[in-house]
Amino acid sequence: MTVIGLRIARPGAIASRRSLRVLEHDLLVFRRGWFSYLLSGLSQPFLYLVAMGIGLGLYVNRNGSLPGGVPYLDYIAPALLVTQAMMAGAFEAAWPIMGKITWDGTYEAALNTPLSACDLLLGDLMWIGFRATLLSVLFLLVIAVLGAAASPLVVLAVPVAVLTALAFAAPIMAFTATQSRDSGFNALFRFGITPLFLFSGTFFPIEKLPLFLQPLAWITPLYHGVAAARSLSLGQVEPVGLTVHISALAVVVVAGVAAGRITFRRRLVV
C-alpha cells in the first residue's frame, strides 16, 4: 500500500483533468446569464470606441499629434480591447472567487469530492480565460464593423488580450485567497487597476507621461499587452518587441499560478 501510495500520491502534480469539472460548473451557471453578458460585451466596446475613438478622436486627429499620424480610433481600439480583458480578468479573480471561498461555500463543497485546491485554482483560471476570450472576440467584431484596425493581424490581438487577462487573474486569485474580507479589493482596483487603465498607454502614448513615471509603465503587464496588441492591429510588428511583450505576460501568468497554488492550499486546506 505504501509503495503504491508513493507512486500515485503527488501533491505537487500541476493539473488534473478534474480542473475541467470546475470549468463545467462555471459554464452551467453561465447558461443562465449569457444574454446580458453578450449584450454588454458588444455594447461596451461599441460605445467606448464611438465616444472616445470617433467623438474625442475628432479633436485629437485635428492636430495629428499621434506618432505616424495614426487615427485616434485605430490607436485606442487595440488598447481598449486589452484593457477590457484586463478588467474582466481582474474582476472575476476578485469578488466571484472570494464568494466561492467564503460566502457561498462552493469550494468547500467541491473539496469534499476528489477535487484538490489546485484543481479549483486552475479550473477557475480557465473559466476566466474563457470569459476573456468571449469578450475579446466580441470586441474584435466591433473593431471590424467600425473599421478600427489597419491590419488583419488584429485577429492575433485576441490571444494577446486573453493572455493579459490571465496575467491579472492569476496573481489576483492568489491574492484573493489571502483575504478574509473583500475590502482589500477596493484599494486594489482604485490604486491598481484604474490607474493602469488610464496610464498604461491606453489613451495617450506613455511618452506624454512625466519622465519618472515612464519606467513604472514598462513594468506593468498591461503596458506589454497594449503595446503587443497595438503593434499587431496597426500592422507595425517588431518581432523582438513582440516576443518581449508576450514573454513578460507569460512570466506573470506562471508566477501568479505558482503563488496561487501556495495561497489556495494555505487557505483551503486547514
Binding site: A9, R21, G105, P114
Partner: protein, 319 residues
C-alpha cells in the same frame, strides 16, 4: 476501549488524533473506531472539536499528529481516493444558489467523474429519495431549510458512498423536517451505509446512533451506546421537584437545606427546580412527602442522554 472495539476491520481508525490551529488545540488526542455499517455519533457542546474531527476524517483538514486511517488509507496521501467513497453533509449547506436543484446534483456527480448520463440517472433517483422531485427545476434559494438540507443529503449520496459524514444534519430544522431526515438516514443505514455524525441534540443521538462518544474541550470524555452511557453516568429515572418561592429568597429551593439529604445518590439543586437522580422515582416521591416536603410540582421521567451530557460537560455556557 477493548471490549467495545468492533470485530471487523474499522472503517475509521483514530489513535491519539490531534488538530491544532496555531496555539489553539481543537482536538486533543482522541481515540475511536467506527465499524462498517455502524451509526456513530460525536456528541458535544459547540467548540468541543466535533467539526474539526469530522473535517480530518473527510480528508479536507490535515492531521496535526496521531494516527488516522479512513478505509484503511492515510488521508494525507490518499485524500482524493478516500473522498471518492465518502459522502459529506457539511454544517452549512454550501449549495450553488445560481443553479437549479437538479443541476446542483448533476455537477456534483461530475466532480466524482460520473458521466452526465449516469449523473442524471442518479440525481433523479436521489431527488425521489429525498422527496424533492417536484422541485427539480426550481432554484435553490427559495427552498425551505429542511428542503435544502435534504438536497445536501442527496448531493452527498451522488457517488454512492459507503461512509456518510454528517455535521449537525438537523440543526435549525422544524420537527417535521427533522423526522423526515431521520427516516431517510435510517433507511441508508439499513442499506449498509456507515453513518458518522455530529450533533448536540440528544434525541437525535438516541434516535440514530448505535454508539457515540461525548466530546468536551477537545477530548473524548465518554464512549458507549446511548443506553450504556445512561446506565454508566446517570440513574434510570430522574425526579424533578419544583417548590414555591419563599418570601425574600433568590432561589425557589434555597430553604430546603438538608431536607433532601439521603433521598438519592445524587441530587442537583438548580435555581428553579431540584433534580433527584434515582432508580425509582415514585419511591423517592413518597419518601419526600413522608419527610413533609410539599413541592408545587412533581415530575418523574426516564433519564436521557441530555442528563448524561449535562453531567459530563457541565451546565455553564461554553461559547
Amino acid at each position: 476501549m477493548p471490549e467495545t472495539a468492533p470485530a471487523t476491520a474499522p472503517l475509521i481508525h483514530a489513535r491519539g488524533l490531534r488538530k491544532c490551529f496555531g496555539a489553539f488545540t481543537a482536538v486533543d488526542g482522541v481515540d475511536f473506531d467506527v465499524a462498517p455499517g455502524e451509526a456513530f455519533g460525536f456528541l458535544g457542546p459547540n467548540g468541543a472539536g466535533k467539526t474539526s474531527t469530522m473535517r480530518m476524517i473527510g480528508t479536507v483538514s490535515p492531521v496535526t499528529s496521531g494516527t488516522l486511517t479512513v478505509f484503511g488509507l492515510d488521508p494525507a496521501r490518499h485524500g482524493a481516493k478516500i473522498r471518492t467513497r465518502l459522502g459529506v453533509v457539511p454544517q452549512a449547506d454550501t449549495l450553488d444558489n445560481e443553479l437549479s436543484v437538479l443541476e446542483n446534483l448533476l455537477i456534483y456527480g461530475r466532480y466524482f467523474d460520473l458521466s452526465w448520463a449516469e449523473s442524471r440517472r442518479r440525481a433523479i433517483e436521489l431527488l425521489e429519495f429525498v422527496q424533492l422531485t417536484d422541485r427539480a427545476n426550481d432554484k435553490v434559494e427559495p427552498l425551505s431549510g429542511g428542503m435544502k438540507r435534504r438536497l445536501v443529503i442527496a448531493r452527498s449520496l451522488i457517488n454512492e458512498p459507503s461512509l456518510l459524514l454528517l455535521d449537525e444534519p438537523t440543526t435549525g430544522l422544524d420537527p417535521q423536517a427533522r423526522h423526515l431526515l431521520w427516516d431517510r438516514l435510517y433507511r441508508l443505514k439499513q442499506r449498509g451505509v456507515t453513518l458518522c455524525l455530529t450533533t448536540h441534540y440528544m434525541d437525535e443521538a438516541e434516535q440514530l446512533c448505535d454508539r457515540l462518544v461525548v466530546m468536551d474541550r477537545a477530548k473524548i470524555v465518554a464512549e458507549g451506546s446511548p443506553r450504556q452511557l445512561i446506565e454508566k453516568y446517570v440513574t434510570k429515572e430522574v425526579l424533578e421537584l419544583r417548590f414555591p418561592r419563599a418570601e425574600g429568597e433568590a432561589d425557589d429551593s434555597a430553604h430546603l437545606d438538608g431536607q433532601l439529604d439521603g433521598l438519592a445518590e445524587r441530587i442537583e439543586q438548580l435555581p428553579d427546580r431540584v433534580l433527584v437522580y434515582t432508580a425509582d422515582g415514585e419511591a423517592a416521591v413518597a419518601t419526600a412527602f413522608e419527610r413533609g416536603l410539599r413541592p408545587a410540582s412533581v415530575l418523574v421521567r426516564r433519564s436521557t442522554l441530555e442528563d448524561v451530557f449535562l453531567r459530563l460537560t457541565g451546565r455553564s455556557l461554553i461559547e
